[in-house]
């Protein structure tokens, strides 16, 4: 029974990882950008949430209303300035610039907010409570996060498939020159994609602050690699693939924890590496090599 419980917990955690990952999948899929600062931007989102909750007394569950648009704007700005400039100069420059951004963000947070960790919504029933079905204990928070992740993915899917800018994003991912010929400034389209990516990962940051705690290094310690794991396992080019990837990661971790409590994260990485080596295109992709 413990195994069933583990699997279910793993599936639910997959929702959190999908929130981390969907923005990364978007940026990598559309712009071929590996944003090493992705996790740190999630942490910034979490810190902003902490700020608006404590300083302006915004209710915890409404903090995202402020955080997500702010982070989306920041995402657009970063894309149009730093990342666009790096893109034009090649992969190495993009990695250096985003790594530099990551270093700057983490140390700035360290400098101004100390290394103390912060939680969001500690004490709330949503965060601490759970309900039981049979002998399975389900945390309110995990279930909520999973539902939120599904809603976000549905929203992104709808946006990409039905809206003008969604089509433009997909078209730009296919052929950015041809999109210019159709009258679209691809830099602006990239900016929109980045705004979506950073806005959603900020949501993930808030969720992480509730599920665990936020500290300056959480971005690179946890969030970034889990996000990449979900994207790679699930397969690039598919939003629902990131949910599948997140679920596989979560389940792998919980199974690892069942075997040996301290092997949770290690188990997930081993699965990640296995997929990278054996099937780098991921579980959902039809292509043979990306």
């Amino acid at each position: 029974m413990a195994w069933v419980n583990a699997i279910i917990q793993g599936v639910l955690t997959g929702g959190l990882y999908a929130l981390f990952a969907c923005g990364l999948s978007l940026m990598f899929g559309v712009m071929k950008v590996v944003n090493l600062a992705h996790g740190d931007l999630a942490v910034i989102g979490g810190y902003i949430a902490v700020f608006v909750i404590t300083a302006i007394h915004v209710p915890v569950l409404w903090s995202f209303v402020i955080v997500v648009p702010v982070m989306a704007l920041i995402g657009y700005g970063l894309q149009r300035t730093l990342i666009q400039g790096a893109l034009e100069r090649g992969v190495l420059t993009t990695l250096i610039v985003t790594l530099g951004l990551s270093l700057v963000i983490e140390n700035a947070l360290l400098q101004f907010f100390t290394a103390n960790s912060r939680g969001i919504g500690a004490g709330m029933t949503l965060v601490t409570g759970s309900f039981t079905i049979g002998s399975i204990q389900l945390a309110y928070l995990l279930v909520t996060i999973f539902v939120v992740a599904v809603v976000v993915l549905l929203g992104l899917q709808y946006f990409l498939s039905r809206s003008k800018y969604g089509r433009l994003i997909r078209a730009t991912a296919d052929d950015r020159e041809a999109v210019q010929l159709a009258g679209a400034d691809y830099r602006h389209v990239f900016g929109i994609a980045a705004a979506l990516a950073i806005g959603t990962v900020a949501l993930g940051g808030i969720a992480y602050g509730m599920y665990s705690v936020l500290d300056p290094t959480a971005g690179t310690d946890t969030i970034l690699l889990f996000a990449f794991a979900a994207v790679v396992i699930g397969g690039l080019g598919s939003l629902w693939g990131t949910l599948l990837g997140g679920v596989v990661l979560g389940v792998a971790q919980q199974i690892g924890a069942q075997i040996n409590i301290s092997d949770e994260v290690l188990a997930g990485f081993i699965v990640f590496l296995a997929v990278l080596v054996l099937r780098p295109q991921g579980l959902t992709s039809r292509r043979t090599q990306s």
Partner: protein, 269 residues
């Protein structure tokens, strides 16, 4: 020993607004890195015309279209749309102003459906008669297949969708790059067969063709390029097959130069 039309005289081929060319290229010099691709090319396309650029592979025809569309920056020279200089405009701005290129190799958005390709083409469309519906009327097979992914179409079908994608933007100057490339003759015929209906809506066409006889059939005027330089210009009616052949292949005794070309570097040099 030239076979050029006198550009300063209006010809019966030019419909519309008199002497102002819709699209003008002046002394365009284009480099690919250190390689000289276009050596002081000039042309004028008047409203309602079909102007054809012919020439062998590597002559510079596609480079010319890409530079006019804004995907490539010239070293010197200028490009004018209806009298105003667009040389420094980004490609998307030019597209919004009416210079729309159907690029070589179709370049459809492969992960999008036929209809989505057209919708993207219409994203920043100008006002005008062309809509997605009208494109379906022009190419009737498309309506039934409009939810198919573009990657699943045949070459000829993709070329048609690419034309449709450009049309829904309501271009003023439609640039067609190597329509016939890789397609069976009967398919090419069908594509060019749509040209009159396109022209009838007021679109001006500048096209690039390797197939000389096809170009001669549809063009009101043409220009031949060889290694980046103009070797012939005129109306199909005014040039002989021998002149075209000589200009295309650069044979001795070829008609060289045209009004406006001053550079005296000798061919093949």
């Amino acid at each position: 020993m030239t076979a050029t039309a006198n550009l300063d005289q209006p010809s019966a081929d030019r419909a519309g607004t008199g002497d102002t060319p819709l699209l003008e290229v002046r002394d365009l010099v284009v480099h690919h890195g250190q390689l000289l691709a276009l050596d002081s090319i000039s042309l004028r396309v008047f409203p309602g015309e079909v102007y054809a650029m012919i020439g062998a592979n590597g002559a510079g025809k596609s480079t010319l279209l890409r530079t006019i569309a804004g995907l490539h920056q010239p070293t010197t020279g200028s490009i004018l749309l209806d009298g105003s200089d667009v040389t420094t405009l980004r490609p998307e701005r030019r597209a919004r102003q009416g210079i729309v290129l159907v690029p070589e190799g179709r370049r459809l958005f492969e992960s999008l459906t036929v209809e989505e390709n057209l919708q993207v083409g219409a994203s920043y469309a100008r006002q005008g008669p062309w809509t997605i519906e009208r494109v379906y009327e022009l190419f009737d097979w498309m309506r039934g297949r409009r939810h198919q992914r573009a990657a699943q179409l045949s070459g000829g079908e993709q070329q048609t969708v690419a034309i449709g994608r450009a049309l829904v933007a309501n271009p003023r100057a439609l640039l067609l790059d190597e329509l016939s490339l890789g397609l069976a003759p009967v398919v090419v015929q069908r594509l060019y067969g749509a040209l009159p209906q396109i022209l009838a809506t007021g679109v001006t066409v500048l096209l690039v063709e390797q197939d000389v006889s096809q170009a001669l059939r549809v063009a009101s005027r043409l220009q031949c390029l060889l290694e980046g330089r103009t070797t012939l210009e005129g109306r199909p009616a005014d040039v002989t097959a021998e002149q075209v052949e000589a200009a295309y292949f650069g044979l001795a005794g070829a008609a060289v130069s045209q009004p406006g070309e001053g550079s005296e570097s000798s061919w093949p040099g």
